[in-house]
Amino acid sequence: MSTQASSIDHVKTTPWAGGRSPFSVEYGKIMMWFFLLSDAFTFSSLLISYGALRFSSAAWPAPDIVFKAFPYVSENAPLVFVGLMTFILIMSSVTMVLAVEAGHRGAKNEVVKWMLWTILGGLMFLGCQALEWTHLHSEGFWWGSVPPLEKLQEFFSADSHANAVVMTTYGHQFANLFFTITGFHGFHVFSGVVINIIITINVLKGTYEKRGSYLMVEKIGLYWHFVDLVWVFVFTFFYLV
């Protein structure tokens, strides 16, 4: 280029000058990020309405009484079962990053190995959730229904001094919100497991090897970590607070 060229002739090479992704991220991955952002809004509106209803309630079922059973093992182990569920989900998140890391190295067999562990973790989590739902359902909680009053009052801590109307009202709200929010999260886990299986089949078929990158594993990885992230919040607001 001659020194007399006007500034208009000068070719811009900044990230925002066009001709390339300014974020240096492939299109599908950016779209996954924005999908997750919209999903974060959905989950937060559910969790925030839960928070507002609980915060304004006169009494609320005590988590360490409602969730004190460990199926088949113990009837009095508060929060241990959900601790196991949390551990399983965090663990499956770790195996997912390990799959992504193996994908960066193009190690096909390792990707398959870690993807299978991730799928197993997801299935275990869903199994645990099924047990927990069955347990709560057998006690009388379900969408729009609570246990009979003499049983229901056992779920409130002794110092709450709630009357029958208060317990029935907030028992119902607790049941509806619990099944809706954990159900919506469980549905995400289920979809994640299905997509993980599809991706694993594609890895086995060599689709990504031919394509030259395991970027799809990264994208489903983002989704899977998001599901783990939502669980971290569900865990805190339903089981701890």
């Binding site: 240096s24 991220v25 925030i48 507002a52 601790g83 965090i90 990053v97 990885g221 970590h225 701890l240």
Partner: protein
Amino acid sequence: MSSEHTHTTDHAEEHGETMTKKKIWQVFFVLLGITCVEFMIALYLVPHGVIKVNVANPVYIILTLAKAFYIVAYFMHLKFEKVGLIFSIVVPVLFIIGLILVLTNESHHWIDLRL
């Protein structure tokens, strides 16, 4: 397909830094450790009256946000992305904080209505 390929290759070149196996396990133990601390508070410190529930609740929220940071920054790799992408994900989340503030305020009012 080919454009996807070229993107990922310069992608990898631009971020010299990426997740190694060692880093992955470090983050895992941080997450596990924070969860154990939360259990300690819920199962021991609060029932034994060491700390009150109204102190424990904000502590849970801070610890949860710490976990969220580790998952998003390291597992989801956001910390190593371009600053533009980081902001376009993080800034909209401020709306969620806005909704939390509005509805906590509102639920205070609901208590008064019910009394």
